[in-house]
Symmetry: C2
Subunit: 366 residues, 2 copies
């Protein structure tokens, strides 16, 4: 009996386990839009999170994804000193075939129903122009293209944040934050990886890189002929000082860990650890792992800056503070003998708990 019961997926059970506030199913008859909005935690402010469009195999996959991603945004906001909560949207559909201006307008009307409790923008499968459509129906969108008054392409500031995070990580691993002379293996040369490579070369690092897209590789080779290109399947095993995953998630797992030949890991990819225990393993091996959601917060920091009227200089200054945040995390990690990703998680949970308690005390139940 109990085994059978465990097989039934329950949304409320998941919400209870991870503390989600609301999971909102939105359906628009006219355009066929099927979007789920996940609002994980609004203790710190309105929920912020992009909109992913993906051809999920099952509805359950979509629900699990939006819950996982919205929860991730809570952590990313809290550790980045962005006064926002964690949210996310997923649209079930093929981003190559099923998109229309009307569909994103319909998304906009649903986002509008939440009256600013949730803000969204681009993510995997969506682009700035989709939110220009959504914006016709709601103001609660971020990261619009620059010509529409938004902060635009977030790749540049994200790469800057990764670069700053890498310097803090180098300091922890090698005693100095100078990257000169270090070898950095960069996995992924997309809109973040491309820009990151430039920062690394400017500072005199040696860069080994790989990407599954030949187009991306060609672009980087053209701009920076000194970059050594290896095959995508080789990059995680390259002998280097710092490995920088900027593509897939879950790259740190039981299969890859034995082949790692790096002393530190710092990159923009989301959910680099397949499971938390893999971060513990890195810690035991003496590999300094920079928690991904600390490192890749540049894009979030840029869209959050829009709440104050976007100023590029301020956004870059705040993204630069990823250095100082990591310094603190590494310090506690050393003192408490805890892996850095655990330190970051505990910091976030403590912060939310404290603020939630204060809110209940001063503005909560009557």
């Amino acid at each position: 009996m109990s085994e059978e019961k465990n097989e039934v997926f329950s949304i409320f059970e998941e919400m209870e386990k991870y503390g989600h506030e609301q999971i909102i199913f939105n359906y628009d008859k006219a355009t066929g839009l099927k979007a789920i909005i996940g609002i994980h935690d609004t203790t710190l402010g309105p929920a912020l999170g992009g909109c992913r469009m993906w051809n999920y195999e099952t509805e359950q996959d979509a629900i699990i994804d939006v819950m996982r991603l919205s929860r991730g945004m809570t952590y990313k906001c809290a550790i980045s000193n962005v006064m926002c909560g964690g949210g996310k949207t997923v649209i079930i559909g093929d981003s190559k075939k099923d998109k229309s201006d009307e569909m994103f307008q319909a998304l906009g009307t649903f986002v509008e129903t939440l009256k600013g409790r949730f803000w969204t923008g681009t993510d995997v499968g969506t682009v700035g122009m989709d939110f220009v459509s959504a914006h016709k129906q709601t103001n609660f969108v971020n990261g619009l293209p620059v010509e529409y008054g938004g902060s635009g392409n977030s790749g540049i500031i994200t790469a800057f944040g990764v670069y700053r995070g890498m310097k803090a990580t180098a300091k922890e691993a090698f005693g100095t934050d100078a990257l000169r002379g270090l070898t950095v293996a960069v996995q992924g040369l997309g809109k973040v990886g491309q820009v990151l490579v430039g920062h690394l070369l400017d500072e005199g690092a040696k860069v080994v890189a790989a990407d599954i897209s030949e187009e991306n590789v060609r672009k980087v080779k053209e701009a920076h002929p000194e970059v050594e290109i290896v095959k995508p399947e080789e990059i995680l095993g390259v002998t280097c000082d710092i490995l920088s995953p900027n593509a897939l998630g879950a790259v740190i797992n039981d299969q890859t860990i034995p082949s790692l030949k790096c002393k530190a890991i710092c990159g923009a990819a989301n959910n680099q650890l397949l499971e938390p225990r893999h971060g513990k393993k890195l810690f035991e091996m003496g590999i300094v792992y920079a928690p991904d959601y600390v490192v890749n917060a540049g894009g979030l920091i840029a869209v959050a800056d829009e709440f104050q009227g976007f100023r590029k200089e301020r956004a870059f200054k705040n993204a630069g503070l990823i250095y100082e945040t990591l310094e603190q995390i590494y310090k506690v990690s050393r003192e408490e003998k805890l892996p850095p990703h655990t330190v970051a998680d505990l910091y976030v949970e403590k912060k939310l708990e404290t603020i939630a308690r204060l809110q209940t005390k001063y503005t909560g139940r009557k």
Copy 2:
């Protein structure tokens, strides 16, 4: 393969089938509240619908219930000329054990997040004081007790609406709307049935009645000794002119239809037809069936009146119009040779479609 797939319950499939706009899962960590808000259709205005608290066996049962009930509210509002859409909330829990002031405050905070897109109040398992709690966190509640500024107990106005509907139904079945001399079998002597019995006796009808609660039976016998009481299992088969179901749903089904000895059916119970085909069967048998959601709209009409500042006289006047609405429905039913419940459904669907088209034209997608 396809058979296996059919077994998986999909929220979006149900939304697509019935045209729901939003299904919102709300979880409150502090009180353990698990509430689902269903917003079926807001073409006519903000969604309106009570809050049911029930110990659902599975989460899926709760989802199906909130979808079915919120859809019913759309139809009830549209046919009653209430400019509201259809919504509903269900709370998963035992209304005898799991309630607290804090839990309904938590519900209030979630209702508040929708900023007036959804209004709620009492239903099965909840009472006025629960919404006095919710009201501490949101204004978007209706039907508060009179001493808290609401329209209070809806049983009286609902019974008045049923009485008016019964007169229109008598006119259709017997050529005159006078109830004098008719025998009415009343199933259920709760807060609606009790009051209805008074109206019927006042007009000189003979009343046969039943209730599973001995307390309810005793009360009615005390007030009206002339009422003939039968056993609950006998009431549907009583020889009578009009049967008035005011208790359970699904009382018109394959088992009960052969034993019916009435010429018309008119009562306040929700979802009296197990399936639409059972209404078709009544029509073929020459039994006049007053569509339940037309007849029992008195409570809705009262809470909707609160939007204009509740005035009892106006609310009763509008509930009285259930007579005229049914007259129209029966007229079309005769002309088009369609069962009355089908006429009502088609009227609602046509109305929503027309208004939705106008809205798209003048205020919709840009």
